[in-house]
């Protein structure tokens, strides 16, 4: 009995940590590239996008896990999309109601969470095959991993493009902002460098 609970705790821990590093959706699985490149010009929109993804991922994993035994194999993707679209619409409405300016900053990228591969991937790979607890932990791990990655990327870009973080001046007066870092080219360069860094660290660890 004790061994069984130990095993469960170990599984939960591994599931939670997988999203943060070993199976990080952006750095290891290269999923969700659209928001990763598009909304990381500053930390605030990146954090908001991350929180929206956590909400949608959590809700969709819960619903998919609860109905996993009722799913018909050929209709499962349709069910996943329907579930995800519902929670994305709700998240979008909440943003428009309580954070209009942020909703405008994020533009079409909130509705585009519907086609974010991370969410459909977790529904297919985890929630449709596991119980409620594992699905919730998986959603939290993946969601937090995605959010942290977005924030790191956005932090580097915002710092170099404006000299600020969260709109607070960080860089000294002599620093000349690199406008290119706030544009798509800055997103690609930063993502490429961070991917290289993560790969180098992973190789060293191995």
């Amino acid at each position: 009995m004790a061994n069984k609970s130990m095993d469960s705790a170990s599984i939960y821990k591994q599931t939670l940590l997988a999203g943060l590093w070993r199976e990080n959706p952006v750095f290891r699985l290269l999923l969700g590239m659209c928001p990763t490149l598009a909304v990381t010009a500053a930390v605030k929109p990146a954090l908001t996008m991350g929180l929206c993804v956590i909400f949608v991922l959590l809700c969709s994993n819960i619903v998919v896990s609860l109905m996993r035994n009722l799913l018909k194999p050929h209709l499962r993707i349709l069910m996943f999309t329907l579930t995800i679209a519902t929670f994305v619409t709700i998240a979008d409405l909440f943003l428009k109601a309580f954070a209009l300016r942020m909703s405008e900053t994020l533009g079409p990228y909130v509705p585009l969470i519907i086609v974010n591969c991370i969410i459909i991937c977790r529904a297919e790979a985890c929630a449709s095959k596991n119980g409620l607890v594992v699905s919730i932990i998986d959603a939290l791990g993946m969601g937090v991993g995605f959010t942290l990655t977005l924030c790191v990327l956005a932090g580097v870009r915002e710092l170099l493009s404006t000299g600020k973080i969260f709109e607070a001046q960080v860089m000294p007066d002599w620093f000349v902002p690199w406008a290119a870092m706030s544009m798509p080219v800055g997103a690609f360069i930063t993502l490429g460098l961070l991917l290289g860094l993560v790969n180098a660290v992973s190789k060293r660890k191995a």
């Binding site: 018909k72 329907l82 709700i90 409405l93 909440f94 109601a97 309580f98 209009l100 533009g107």
Partner: protein, 218 residues
């Protein structure tokens, strides 16, 4: 009968989920709709107040003015009357939309009470390139429209920014976005003036009367 049974067996979950999720969205929308509309109204009011500093209140004067666009497309806008503290009308404001460099640009434009001069514009929403096109939100472009004659505007690449006339000097590095703003002004102003004249809120200006007389003589 067997086919219907098979269909229901296969898709009952999908049908049930569609109804349930639809209901969930409807309930959320019903709960937040008022707040969302109020947010949009507040934002529009704030921008109009920033444009016309003496303004105290805004009320819709003409609803659903049709603006003809490219390829026969028609957009609609409402014309607001701008009221001061004493309730006197001091101008008009309207929302204008047009294509920008990356996405649609949505502006709030204000004109004086006789529709002869612009009060200026504010950007309601845009997705122009950060560091370049999004400079349309800055004073460099905005200040040039303040007091400019409410008629056909012309975009020039070089000129005196401080001169108040119908020539608007483009932002360096954001010519396309500057041009888009000027095009939006030119698309809307004539139609708005026509509507204000038709409803008797303003009288024809000298220049316009001259144009009308010329066309009558022809």
């Amino acid at each position: 009968m067997l086919k219907i049974k098979h269909f229901i067996q296969q898709s009952w979950l999908l049908i049930a989920a569609s109804f349930l999720f639809g209901l969930l969205i409807a309930v959320t929308n019903a709960g937040l709709d008022e707040r969302i509309k109020q947010n949009e109204k507040d934002k529009l009011n704030d921008l109009m107040k920033a444009l016309v500093t003496d303004a105290n209140d805004f009320k819709i004067e003409i609803e659903g003015v049709q603006i003809p666009g490219k390829r026969g497309r028609v957009t609609e806008t409402d014309i607001y009357k701008v009221l001061d503290d004493d309730g006197n009308r001091i101008g008009f404001a309207f929302v204008a939309v047009g294509p920008g460099f990356a996405d649609k640009i949505k502006l709030v434009i204000a004109v004086d009470d006789r529709c002869e001069k612009f009060f200026g514009f504010k950007v309601l929403s845009s997705n122009e390139t950060p560091g370049f096109g999004d400079k349309i939100k800055e004073d460099y472009l905005g200040e040039q429209f303040k007091g400019a004659p409410a008629g056909e505007l012309e975009l020039v690449k070089a000129g005196k920014v401080e001169e108040v006339d119908s020539k608007i000097v483009a932002i360096s590095g954001a010519t396309v976005s500057s041009e888009a703003v000027v095009k939006i002004f030119n698309t809307y102003i004539d139609r708005v003036r026509e509507q204000l004249q038709a409803k008797g809120f303003i009288h024809a200006t000298k220049a316009l009367r001259h144009e009308e007389n010329k066309s009558e003589l022809k």
